[in-house]
């Protein structure tokens, strides 16, 4: 114990820089680990917060048929709207009375004409665009919702005091608040992507820790050898090193907790969920927190003791226990080949991936990661062989250095290479996730600008709304499209034994208006029945309406009129054949019985100039018609793909972070390498080698193996991605390999490495000064 204490003191006194850098690297790892451990509780906390403010009303399935205690809190079913791309939600509080139960985070209920809103919404209502909200949120803000009533700090949430609901639905009598949700299910693709992402982030952090522990290794070896010289036993030397490891572990854990505490608000703000995450929610469970803080110093101690078993420290120096210096031989290809072989097993496999396949995939990936780290010295050596063939002193110096110690440069590049491999794999997963959650709005998004509204309404819209919207500034076109059902004469809805084309759908709208909305030049002619030109032949869904007389049936089966579909109807091209035009038929309103348009739901297409103010004007006008959730196509796509977008943002952020962590490792290793070689560089300079040549040699020493290692990493990543994609015919055909994204990611990583190498070049001049020829 006394020796460990002595080692601790020696570490603090003797190698502050080494201890500081290693502790910082460890702190980074600890902070990252705590953030990862806190992510799941944060997600759960968000779900809990949402669940805790769900009103449970009289007659609901959960509450049974109880009676609310008077005075009764009456809430509308809910406000669901959008403002400038952000979800705006809440409830209307109908004729609030004193003494009713209060929603979470609400200190008083809004009376008619009053608002109780979230802090972000209060800011929006006090900001320059407040006018865009006032028709949806009429009244003045009388209170703010406290954090316990919000799912996130940036949520736009409101309790609007009204005399009666404007939603068309009766208000609910609220018994209490709080409804437990089941945990959301995560798709296998997302789970694999998340695991890869976590691995991708953790790897460079571990490489950073490993790099930091090697920092000033030469100085540490000299110190340990000197201790042996004055009579320290091998055990005492191990304990001295353990003392240093203990210091590093304790400092790293404490600093990591501190860094996590300080950066937690930043980390919470980076969590890609709408409305954000409260800082307090990003907290690992206390048991895990304590386990991490205790495990880090203990593991640090154990790893140090294990590492010392591989070293022979004697009074004349330190050497590894292996008999021969490891060579960059062909055996280094074995783990990589084995990893790729496991991944190749999936090649051409059909159907969904089962648990065994996912295990195979992850094992193959992990083995490939190890393989890339193992193969890097061999690539480095090959780069050395190539460099010594080139003319010039710089390439010869760099080549010889690589041949003499191929592992040294390979170690500095490992972090970046692993990030590139995992990043490439991850980038191939994101399109899969995207495709697996495609939306109906994407059908329209191909033919209409993203700023357009496509609003479906169940009751049929007020005919005047089209006119109101058309007159709004910035609105280009507003067209109501009726959606009716056509039947073969004699067929009633609900009849048994109907054929597939006995009941079909048709859209109803003026051809000219529809063509204008889609921005198409169409010859509508004088006909009243049109067929749509197919954009794609493989559209699934409704069956084409056959020609001949068809009856128009109401949803309840009543006969509303008759339409004749001609055999040669005018064919027009709107650039769309997805929902709701799959049936390929649309009719001019003049040939459709007016009662039919009232009986069915209708759809409103609104195209605008795309300005945010116009978007909000349209939304306000629709809100006044009882259409609360109107969104532009772009917003719909964004909301439907919210999970995907969140993962994309998280992946991009993670990759960026991983590359930067890799860059820090590289910088630490490069600076240490230059410092450790001061004497060699000074000797070369003393021989007359220009500093410029030394700098070029340093750059080539990194650049040549980098190119080789990146090529191997990209190849392995592409193979791993292709193997996974090949397991699913649909993904294989639809997704393809994201070569462009891969190119960008690889280019970025290479650029970062070059920038970091460039940053170390000024050190070459200082390192080559003659005074470094003096050893002590």
């Amino acid at each position: 114990m006394r020796t460990i204490v002595l080692g601790t003191r020696l570490a603090l006194r003797g190698s502050r820089a080494r201890v500081a850098v290693t502790a910082l690297a460890l702190a980074f790892a600890v902070a990252f680990l705590l953030a990862v451990l806190g992510a799941l509780p944060a997600r759960q906390a968000k779900l809990d917060r949402l669940a805790e403010r769900v009103p449970v009303s009289v007659g609901s399935e959960v509450a049974g048929e109880q009676q609310a205690a008077p005075p009764v809190l009456r809430l509308s079913g809910g406000i669901f709207s959008t403002w400038r791309g952000r979800t705006l939600s809440g409830h209307q509080v109908v004729d609030a009375q004193d003494g009713t139960i209060l929603p979470p985070g609400v200190s008083r209920l809004p009376r008619p004409g009053e608002l109780v809103v979230s802090p972000d919404l209060a800011r929006a209502l006090a900001g320059p665009h407040a006018a865009e909200l006032t028709s949806r949120l009429p009244g003045r803000v009388v209170a703010r919702i406290a954090p316990e009533g919000l799912s996130g700090p940036h949520e736009l949430y409101a309790y609007v005091g009204v005399a009666k609901t404007s939603t068309g639905y009766p208000a609910d009598e609220v018994l209490r608040f709080g409804h437990r949700n089941d945990p959301a299910d995560v798709s296998p693709e997302l789970r694999v992507a998340a695991q890869l992402g976590g691995l991708g982030l953790l790897l460079p952090v571990l490489v950073l820790v490993a790099t930091a522990t090697r920092l000033s290794a030469g100085a540490r070896d000299r110190r340990l050898a000197a201790v042996r010289l004055v009579g320290g036993t091998a055990r005492q030397v191990s304990l001295l090193a353990a003392g240093e490891a203990l210091v590093v572990g304790v400092l790293g854990a404490a600093l990591g907790a501190l860094v996590f505490g300080v950066l937690r608000p930043v980390a919470a703000s980076l969590v890609p969920v709408e409305g954000g995450v409260f800082t307090a929610d990003l907290t690992p469970p206390s048991g895990q927190l304590v386990a991490v803080l205790l495990a880090v110093p203990v593991l640090s101690l154990l790893v140090s003791l294990l590492a010392m078993r591989r070293l022979v420290v004697d009074p004349l120096g330190v050497r590894r226990r292996s008999r021969r210096r490891s060579r960059a031989g062909w055996w280094r290809l074995v783990p990589l080949a084995a990893g790729l072989a496991l991944l190749g097993w999936l090649w051409g496999r059909q159907g969904d991936l089962e648990g065994f396949d996912v295990g195979l995939l992850l094992s193959g990936g992990a083995l490939t990661v190890v393989g890339l780290a193992v193969v890097a010295p061999a690539v480095s050596r090959l780069a050395g062989v190539a460099l010594v063939q080139l003319p010039g002193t710089a390439s010869r110096l760099a080549g010889r250095r690589l041949l003499a110690d191929p592992s040294a440069t390979a170690r500095t590049l490992t972090g970046t290479v692993l990030v590139v491999f995992v990043g490439i794999w991850l980038l191939a997963f994101l399109p899969i996730v995207k495709v697996s959650s495609s939306s109906q709005a994407s059908d329209f998004a191909a033919a209409l600008p993203g700023s357009s509204f496509v609003v479906t309404h169940g009751f049929g819209l007020d005919p005047g709304v089209e006119q109101v919207l058309s007159e709004l500034p910035g609105v280009r076109q507003a067209v109501t499209v009726g959606l009716i059902q056509l039947a073969r004469p004699g067929i009633r809805s609900g009849d048994e034994n109907t054929q597939i084309d006995d009941l079909t759908q048709a859209a109803v709208a003026p051809c000219v208006d529809l063509a204008a909305a889609f921005g198409r030049k169409v010859r509508c002619g004088t006909g009243a029945v049109f067929t749509l030109r197919r954009v794609r032949e493989d559209v699934s869904g409704y069956t084409k309406t056959p020609s001949g007389p068809r009856t128009v049936l109401s949803p309840d089966g009543a006969l509303l009129g008759e339409v004749v579909v001609p055999a040669t109807a005018t064919e027009i091209d709107l650039g769309i054949d997805g929902w709701p035009f799959q049936a390929g038929t649309f009719l001019d309103p003049s040939v459709v019985p007016p009662a039919a348009l009232k009986a069915f739901s209708s759809m409103l297409l609104v195209t605008t100039d795309g300005a945010p103010a116009t978007t909000e004007r349209v939304r306000n006008a629709l809100f006044s018609q009882g259409v609360h959730g109107a969104q532009t196509l772009a917003e719909q796509l964004a909301f439907e793909d919210r999970t995907v977008l969140g993962y994309e943002r998280a992946a991009r952020l993670g990759l960026l972070l991983a590359v930067l962590v890799g860059a820090v490792s590289l910088l630490v290793a490069s600076v240490d390498a230059v410092r450790a070689r001061r004497r060699d560089l000074a000797a070369l300079a003393a021989l007359g080698v220009p500093v410029g040549v030394l700098r070029r040699a340093l750059v080539l020493e990194v650049l040549a193996p980098l190119v080789g290692c990146l090529a191997v990493a990209v190849g392995a990543g592409a193979f791993a991605s292709a193997a996974y994609l090949s397991a699913d015919t649909y993904y294989r055909e639809v997704v393809g390999l994201p070569w462009q994204a891969w190119g960008s990611a690889t280019g970025f990583a290479a650029l970062v490495v070059l920038v970091v190498t460039g940053l170390t070049l000024p050190l070459a001049r200082g390192a080559a000064r003659p005074e470094h020829l003096r050893t002590e």
């Binding site: 110190r223 000197a226 010289l229 009579g231 091998a234 009074p315 002590e776």
Partner: protein, 227 residues
């Protein structure tokens, strides 16, 4: 000054590094209180012989005895304990821990032996004063001159009261003036303590401090010159 019973003995010592023989049947005695100089050309095996005598290297063949007991076949812990309690070292390079102050360097062997920090520092300070480097006690080896660093190394070698001090080219990195100062302090302090000194050098000026000189050639004893 010297007695006839050898304190340290090497008998027919052979040692090779790979295919290269470093010592080829060398035998030598070190008597109590004696200053023995090992001389020879570069590569003659004088440093290797010193390392064998000090229990740092194990000979392939032959034996090393200290006070009549074989030490070359003892486990590492025993030889380490011997280095800690009975031997002291002064090398040309690398004998001081660069990250520790002069005082901490001198304190180190005492603390490894289990002495309390305050006691160790008190003893170490006395030795630094005695070797005229008390004023650099708080400085790092890199912050002091070469001569001062070697005197700190001498203080560290003598602080445990060793019976034998091994000095490998102790003045190799010093100018003649500093070299002489270090040698005088080393030999003076060692004689005062009754410690033997095994000195590796190729400088006649340094060898002149020895009671006896042994010249090695190709790993074997070539000439023995009594002082």
């Amino acid at each position: 000054m010297t007695s006839t019973e050898p304190l340290l003995t090497a008998r027919d010592v052979h040692l090779s590094f790979g295919a290269t023989p470093a010592l080829a049947g060398t035998s030598v005695d070190v008597r109590p209180g004696e200053v023995l100089a090992l001389l020879g050309a570069s590569g003659s095996g004088k440093s290797t012989l010193l390392h064998c005598l000090a229990g740092i290297l194990r000979p392939d063949r032959g034996e090393i005895r200290y006070r009549g007991q074989r030490v070359d076949d003892q486990p590492d812990a025993v030889r380490s304990a011997l280095r800690r309690s009975d031997f002291g070292f002064v090398f040309q390079f690398g004998s001081l821990v660069p990250e520790l102050t002069a005082l901490e360097n001198v304190t180190l062997p005492l603390q490894l032996a289990g002495r309390r920090r305050r006691d160790s520092e008190s003893v170490a300070r006395r030795w630094l004063e005695r070797l005229e480097v008390g004023d650099v006690a708080g400085q790092l080896p890199g912050e002091v001159s070469g001569g001062q660093a070697q005197r700190v190394a001498v203080a560290r070698a003598l602080v445990t009261g060793p019976r034998v001090v091994f000095a490998d080219e102790p003045t190799g990195a010093l100018d003649s003036l500093n070299g002489e100062l270090v040698m005088e302090l080393l030999i003076g302090a060692a004689r005062e303590q009754g410690a033997s000194v095994v000195l590796v050098t190729h400088e006649p000026r340094v060898a002149a401090y020895a009671d006896r000189e042994v010249v090695l050639r190709d790993g074997a004893l070539a000439v023995e010159v009594p002082a």
